[in-house]
């Protein structure tokens, strides 16, 4: 077993961890060719809140009341151990940056999700836009595909566009792990060709003319834009193909896992390959909110599902040469309490948690920051969410210092932080 000291040592090595110099050079060379506008994001969204203490930041030496039943296993990064239930992921840690010192102050799902998806604290009177919505507005669509796709669908307002307007809301792909998956309503009805549909559309505009000016928000305008975007999408063979997961070999689909996250990640890869800028993949709802019986849920379902999906995604992206242009982020909205509660669960804990990044020039083989002995507080190198957001936006070539005027005229900077140099 590795001592806590060895973790600290990793944490303090700095930018390149245990990469050999050759790898560094290859990374740098690859980075040079990548244009920011080519980068996409796949966001493994563990809504509900991932327990850092049972996955990426275990504390085998801590008190019984804090310690879960899982063991650690060595990883491909010398000196680093993670949970035994993430064996595939363990083999890839030399390709990732693991941050063990994420910290914020929002301990409710809603406000914490707003923060982790937007970089802003939730405001009582204003809905701030999520990363995917900002990218949609700033960078627009590529190849007739919606720029921002959510698998399966958003819950509440946190993953949405807020004051940017519903036009920049995510496109819901639905649950992918079903027989004969397809996006609903992508085909014109029987007997209706595009000429006829366009005739219908112009009749619709005529009927709408009567009360159009009654809307004092921009809802009607947004609805109009949805018709145009929907028509573009339905007309595009490329878009249809991107959603056609059945084209993938059965073997590969098995590798990803026949689970929501597994098939979701595979679809996400197809989508970024085809031009989608931001794909969120989750299990739906606040599935990771384990206030009770956390451990059997983790070992039987949640961790194997995440492990397969993440590892298969990383490998697949790499083999297709997409890892240099795809930023993969694994995170929930917060971590979970060190203390195991009476129901054998862990509660919400934003003060210190872990987050994994890979691809798009993020150096491999780094462990950044450290938590204290019980994983409650950040001991070294706290990483704040606005800084992470600034980093992400900079990677994609978005001027994160740009100010939006909200619907009530209040200026909101895209990201209020400073880019983190260790993320490349």
């Amino acid at each position: 077993m590795f001592s806590r000291r060895s973790f600290l040592r990793i944490g303090s090595i700095g930018a390149f961890g245990t990469l050999d110099w050759g790898q560094v050079l290859r990374l740098r060379a690859a980075e040079k060719q990548v244009q920011p506008k080519d980068i996409s994001i796949i966001h493994l969204w563990l809504a509900g809140g991932l327990s850092h203490l049972d996955t990426f930041d275990m504390k085998p030496g801590s008190d019984r009341k804090y310690r879960g039943p899982f063991s650690q296993v060595p990883t491909s990064l010398d000196g680093l151990q993670i949970s035994e239930h993430l064996p595939r992921t363990a083999k890839l840690m030399h390709r990732t940056t693991l941050i063990r010192s994420m910290t914020h102050k929002q301990s409710a799902h809603g406000t914490a999700q707003t923060l982790m998806l937007s970089g802003h604290d939730a405001l009582p009177t204003l809905l701030v836009p999520s990363i995917g919505s900002v990218l949609s507005k700033e960078l627009g669509a590529r190849n007739e595909l919606p720029p921002y796709v959510m698998i399966p669908q958003p819950r509440g307002n946190n993953a949405r566009a807020g004051f940017l307007g519903p036009k920049y809301n995510p496109f819901s792909a639905g649950e992918v792990n079903v027989a004969k998956y397809s996006v609903r309503d992508m085909e014109l009805p029987m007997g209706v060709d595009w000429a006829r549909m366009e005739g219908r559309h112009s009749l619709l505009n005529l009927v709408d003319a009567k009360i159009k000016h009654w809307d004092t928000t921009d809802t009607f305008e947004t609805l109009d834009s949805y018709y145009q975007s929907a028509f573009d999408l339905m007309k595009s063979p490329k878009a249809k193909q991107a959603f056609n997961i059945a084209e993938e070999p059965e073997k590969l689909r098995d590798d990803y896992g026949r689970t929501s996250m597994g098939q979701g990640c595979l679809l996400a890869r197809r989508l970024v390959e085809a031009g989608v800028r931001f794909v969120s993949v989750g299990k739906g709802d606040n599935a990771w909110d384990h206030h009770s019986t956390l451990f059997p849920a983790y070992s039987n379902e949640f961790m194997p599902e995440l492990d397969r999906a993440f590892a298969a995604l990383m490998t697949d992206l790499d083999q297709r040469g997409l890892l240099d242009t795809t930023l993969v982020i694994v995170t929930g909205e917060f971590g979970r309490t060190a203390e195991i509660n009476v129901n054998n669960g862990r509660d919400h804990w934003p003060n210190c948690f872990s987050l994994v990044l890979a691809g798009a020039g993020v150096p491999g083989g780094q462990v950044i920051g450290a938590s204290d002995a019980d994983g409650m507080y950040v001991k070294d190198r706290p990483v704040e969410v606005p800084d992470l957001m600034a980093t992400i936006f900079r990677k994609l070539g978005v001027d994160f210092t740009k100010e939006y005027k909200s619907n009530i005229g209040r200026p909101i900077t895209i990201a209020d932080g400073k880019p983190l140099s260790f993320l490349g």
């Binding site: 609903r184 309503d185 009360i211 004092t216 809802t219 947004t222 609805l223 018709y227």
Partner: protein, 708 residues
Amino acid sequence: MKLLYLLIPAVLAAQTQKQPTVSFINDVSPIFTMSGCAGSNCHGSIRGQRGFKLSLFGYEPKQDYDALPTRINRQVPEKSLLLQKATAQVPHGGGLRFTPDSLQYRTIVDWLKQGAPYDPPNAVRVVSLTVSPSEQLLIGAGQTVQLTAKAKYSDGTLRDLTKLVQYSSNDPDTVQVDSKGLAKALQTGETSIMVRTMGQAVSARILVAASATAKSYPRVPANNFVDEQIFAKLRRLNIVPSSLTTDEQFLRRVYLDTVGLLPTEAESRAFLTAPNRAKLIDHLLERREFAELWALKFAELFRAGTREAGAKGAKIVYDYIRDSFLQHKPYDRFVREIILSQGAHSFGNSSLEGVQKSPTSFYNISFDSNAPDHATNISQLFLGVRIECAKCHNHPWEKWTQDDFYGFAAFFGRVGIKEVYENDENATQYMEEGFVEHPKTKKRMDPKFLDGSSIKDSQDADIREALVDWMASPKNAFFAKTVVNRVWKHFLGRGFVEEVDDFRVTNPPTHPALLDALAQDLIAHRYDLRHLMRTILNSRTYQLSAEPNDSNRQDALNYSHFRLRRLMAEVLVDTMSQTTGVPERFAGYPPETRAMQVSGGGGGYMLASFGRLSRDIICERDSQPDMAQTMHLISGSTIQKKLTAMKLPLDLADDALLDRIYLTSLVRRPSDDERAAVKSALARSDRKSVYQDLLWAILNSKEFMYQH
């Protein structure tokens, strides 16, 4: 003038003539709140910050006192960690809170010099906090008002705390407030300023009008007291309400809102020939579909049919609510029956034939529903109070504590679920034994009302009866207001309080006096919800046009024009069926069932996509549009099936047919442009296709999809 207690010659100075003392409770603890130390995102959070935990906004001064020993130095007060942190002399995550030459600093030093005592048990305490003015109209950006905060103490004395409380604006973009209580208008609108100290919170409402009431402001007729109050406020704000709806607009609106349907061709022609709005309202409130609409709304709030209760359980509850409305059951009796319910859930098989429909599965939302769950649901549903945060910790913003929560839960300590019947049948049973204990103190709780008084449980009685008596008592502030707020939102699109079930000091209503008046009127009319609805529906406020004018276009809070809102998913599907004459089929329900009659969860993709809830949590429906909805309207099966199966009376001449289509879908006549467009299409294509295309356009239109 160097000591706080000299600045404000207050209560404590009077106690000991020679040496006035600094009180921890009244002088020191408030500093933590006003300086931001005791906020929920800092040391006031559930688990504190960096090992130092204060009670939120100074709710529990003893707890704060007990957190201090390692952070204070009585011998050399200036060396106290508390002061070094607050003045940022040592690194502090919260930065500089006050400087060494501040009053706060000197007050704490003086208290430390006295030996840092806790107040004696008989020391005076704050019993209430007031802010004045409690409401203020400001004209134009830039105008200011100085707020004054006064506390009343247990010995009857008053003290001005204006400079010692914490101020915050609910909407800092509309009105900002500084640390001394000076509020400044930034833009037109309204909001509340929260004032907090020592566990107390009050608010002041600040309205900002663009300009003073114009001399030319029109006289707007009022139909009843609703209009008097709504229009009085609009006049103060110099906002002119929109004009009255046309008869056609009113007809469509009131049908959709009361019975969830469009008027038939015959009904429309009858009303438009002899329009009598009040009579139509009376008629609609007696229709069966009216009862069905409210059955659906309440069944959804009760989350009927989740988990093992399934579709059968949901139908029992739905039928029970519908019948309650059909029987004109007063709202308080309806709630009483639900809360006191016990016995078989009656959704099982043969052994229960003939058992009366009852809502007993109300308590059986999930297998492991327990007293705290019931407390959470019942307080939110019927009292508009979200006390569930107090389950784990004292409420972040309000006065609810864990004692309050578990005391309230104690009313349900004897509610149990028993699997006493065969065939998966369950029953809610009111047991002889059962109690709720406080999770920290392990104390067995006495049932406690939300007003703070408590009673003893007794084996001879159903203690829930005492609860419903208290709930429905005219003196209770929560019960009538909550249902008024829900009903008001149903018809006007926005509650006086939003969210509708989140009444708190820090979330005040937009029209407090009107909310009170409607609640009192409901009580005076024995909780007859039809009376309340009749009052609202007959008001000119409800009957205003949705078309804004130049003066009210920006107003979103004051009902100056009717608020556009998308129709409920069920109403949308049902009116699509009506317009095309092709009913929707729902799996598991007989043919001809309307969406409004789908009593359980489910109901198909269109309903779910347009906001029907899965009922696993209490929440508002989400009415934000998204592209999946649009794609379903463009090419989805709901509309396509109807257009294919629809049988139009093609024997009618085109003008007559157009008139009929428009009357039965949009409740108006087609415009000249619309007529011309259809006729020019008829010259190119076959009639059936042209009319299918027209119906597609109408069913996709905003005018069809939205209540207006």
